[in-house]
């Protein structure tokens, strides 16, 4: 399934890559944009440190982005937040059944991304950018003693393709993390008892590891549509997809899909 998705994404990039290096005169003016997004954040994961079972759920998410740059070079800063109760999947549990582990995980998800785009090529209808994202994903589980499930910062190069219509624009981007700095709970995660003299920052530092692409696989993809409402404002609809598979210290597989709509304002 992972390979199928990568092939779809590569195919998408290739068929749209019929363009030449260069830039339009109009694109040389620097501009800044701010974007507010909201929608539904869906997260499913199997984290074997906690359970063999899949936990999944969806909830409202909020996102704020800031773009700055010109046609050739763009910088983007994004922050996203969601609070999701992920329930155990594939297992009907009676209301009166005692659960010694956790039948649900109340989680806080926080992302912070910085991306630098550089225009690779452009024609009348399309622009293709190479980008590098410094991405930080954090899952904190309130249910499990406010313990962090995943702190994952990665450097992910990727391609961003945009169709340049008069009012309508479509875009797609895909990136793959090459190097990750990841902290997950200790191997013997304790789900019931509190820790003795537990220092979360010390614990994070102890569990922080640099992971290579074999230990930390991932696909980050976005697809979306923007409609210019006026010279200064646009509407955006997009879908963000994230797949992560981290093998250390035990396998965590996580898939998230974020359906959102937003408003862009040119400053």
């Amino acid at each position: 399934m992972e390979k199928v998705l990568i092939n779809i994404l590569l195919f998408t990039v290739v068929i749209f890559m019929n363009c030449k290096a260069g830039q339009n005169e109009a694109d040389t003016v620097k501009e800044s944009k701010i974007q507010f997004n909201t929608g539904v954040y869906s997260l499913n994961s199997i984290d074997k440190l906690y359970s063999e079972k899949m936990y999944g759920g969806a909830n409202l998410f909020l996102g704020l982005s800031y773009f700055h740059g010109k046609g050739t070079n763009w910088q983007l800063l994004e922050a996203e937040y969601a609070g999701i109760e992920r329930k155990i999947q594939n297992l009907p549990i009676n209301d009166n059944q005692i659960i010694y582990g956790s039948s649900s995980l109340n989680s806080i998800i926080f992302h912070l991304n910085y991306t630098y785009f550089h225009l690779l090529c452009q024609n009348e209808t399309r622009s293709l950018y190479l980008f590098l994202t410094g991405s930080d994903f954090n899952f904190v589980n309130i249910t499990l003693n406010n313990n962090y499930e995943l702190i994952n910062s990665s450097l992910a190069p990727g391609l961003y393709l945009e169709t340049d219509g008069a009012k309508h624009r479509f875009f797609i981007q895909v990136s793959i993390p090459l190097l990750s700095l990841s902290a997950r709970s200790s191997y013997s995660t304790n789900t019931v008892q509190n820790y003795e003299h537990f220092d979360i920052w010390k614990d994070i530092m102890n569990n922080l590891h640099v992971l290579n692409p074999v230990q930390s696989k991932g696909i980050y993809a976005k697809i979306g549509y923007t409609l210019d409402l006026s010279h200064k404002t646009s509407l955006i609809l997009k879908y963000d997809f994230t797949y992560l598979k981290i093998s250390y210290p035990r396998e965590l597989t996580s898939v998230s899909g974020v359906y959102s709509t937003g408003f862009i304002y040119k400053l």
Binding site: M1, E2, V4, L5, I8, T12, S42, N44, S45, I46, K48, S51, E52, K53, M54, G56, I88, N90, L91, P92, I93, N94, Q97, I98, I99, Y100, G101, T125, T163, G165, H168, F170, I172, S186, Y187, S188, T189, N190, T191, V192, Q193, N194, Y195, E196, H197, A221, I223, Y225, Y239, F241, Y243, P249, R250, T253, V255, S256, G257, Y259
Partner: protein, 367 residues
């Protein structure tokens, strides 16, 4: 035209990706008897801490208990095989709960009293009432609800005044931190202290550590521990040191007795080990339950739940915590300094034998 094609392609991608979301995740074990047996066996294999300390060949036990398991095995037979499997561990923290079939602890549950085969909580309440009515002075204080009633007060014993505190649990939600601190203040002018953790089956490290730090007066290393940190049975973290961290020195020159019995388990056994590191503490009662490890809880594919201990506990010198014969104490328990067993008949006659012994002993050692 191009715009339309782009739109169609984008819509197709929007269908493909969301449809893939859950299909990218697959649980490792099927929800049949084989999958469930393997799920429990594998997680114990990956996490259980005391395989080497207890000389257990887990691979051979899989063959013994798993040989008759097939995808068509009925729940009752699966439960029997799994309880047989974890029963070999004799571990107070190895536990399975199968809704509709029962629950099973790897370590045989003991009777509350040496002269009666009962595990009724109502009998604990009788004991607590005897202590409150027949031993404590009238100004005793209590909080919480039965059988987790915390209470403290003073006992006149000869010419001495002895402070008494019952700590029935270390479960964080039930542990009244301020109430225990009030007890400490109340005990400042007492000649000696008795801390009763009989029938305290444990709780959280957070609570027992707070209690140790309140009643200890010397900073002492009382145990070391190692947690599993990898798939091999000998994959462990380095030693973690566990120290008492005294918050006061009120009881430095005062003898303390800790009352224990066969229901004193888990966190309360750690409390006992912490207190026993102090030069002014002795224990009276019966051998404790024998469950030292921190626990890991898991759910099987069919919803049955189980618990296991992922830790091994060592003496301050770094030697395995064993009895005099060299057996790891998980599943055996800690013997008291003075063995005086709880007897239901004595309690019903208004006598608490271990408490009587503790008072007599304290009268002899109070300076």
């Amino acid at each position: 035209m191009k715009l339309k094609l782009t739109l169609i392609y984008s819509i197709l991608l929007l269908i493909v990706f969301p449809a893939c979301e859950k299909n990218l995740l697959k649980e490792e074990f099927n929800n049949d008897a084989v999958g469930n047996f393997n799920a429990l066996w594998t997680e114990f294999d990956l996490y259980y801490g005391a395989f080497e300390a207890k000389h257990i060949n887990w691979d051979s036990l899989k063959v013994v208990y798993g040989k008759n398991i097939s995808t068509t095995t009925k729940d009752g037979d699966l439960y029997k095989a799994l309880t047989g499997l974890i029963g070999t561990l004799n571990d107070g923290h190895a536990f399975i709960y199968a809704p509709g079939l029962g629950s099973f602890n790897s370590h045989k549950l003991r009777s509350f009293f040496s002269d009666a085969d009962t595990r009724e909580n109502s009998k604990i309440i009788v004991l607590q009432e005897v202590i409150q009515k027949d031993y404590l002075n009238d100004d005793y204080r209590k909080t919480g609800s039965s059988p987790f009633t915390f209470f403290y007060g003073s006992i006149n014993s000869g010419t001495h005044k002895i402070g008494y505190l019952c700590i029935p649990t270390f479960v964080s939600e039930d542990y009244p931190e301020q109430f225990v601190e009030d007890a400490v203040s109340y005990f400042k002018n007492m000649d000696a202290i008795i801390i009763d953790i009989r029938f305290n089956s444990g709780g959280s490290a957070e609570a027992f550590v707070k209690a140790i730090d309140l009643f200890s007066s010397e900073r002492k290393l009382y145990i070391k521990s190692k947690d599993r940190n990898g798939p091999q049975h000998n994959d462990f973290t380095s030693f973690e040191d566990h120290y008492t961290e005294p918050k006061n020195s009120y009881f430095k020159t005062k003898p303390i007795v800790v009352l224990v019995n066969g229901q004193t388990a888990s966190s309360s056994e750690h409390f006992l080990l912490g207190m026993k590191s102090q030069s002014n503490v002795i224990s009276v009662g019966d051998t404790t339950w024998g469950a030292f490890s921190v626990v890991v809880d898991r759910i099987m594919p069919n919803g049955w739940q189980y618990r296991l201990g992922a830790q091994v506990v060592y003496t301050p010198e770094g030697k395995l915590l064993t009895d005099s014969k060299g057996n790891y104490l998980e599943g055996i328990g800690i013997a008291p300094d003075y063995c005086v067993k709880d007897k239901l008949q004595s309690i019903e006659n208004g006598h608490d034998n271990p408490l009587d012994f503790a008072l007599t002993k304290l009268n002899l050692i109070i300076k």
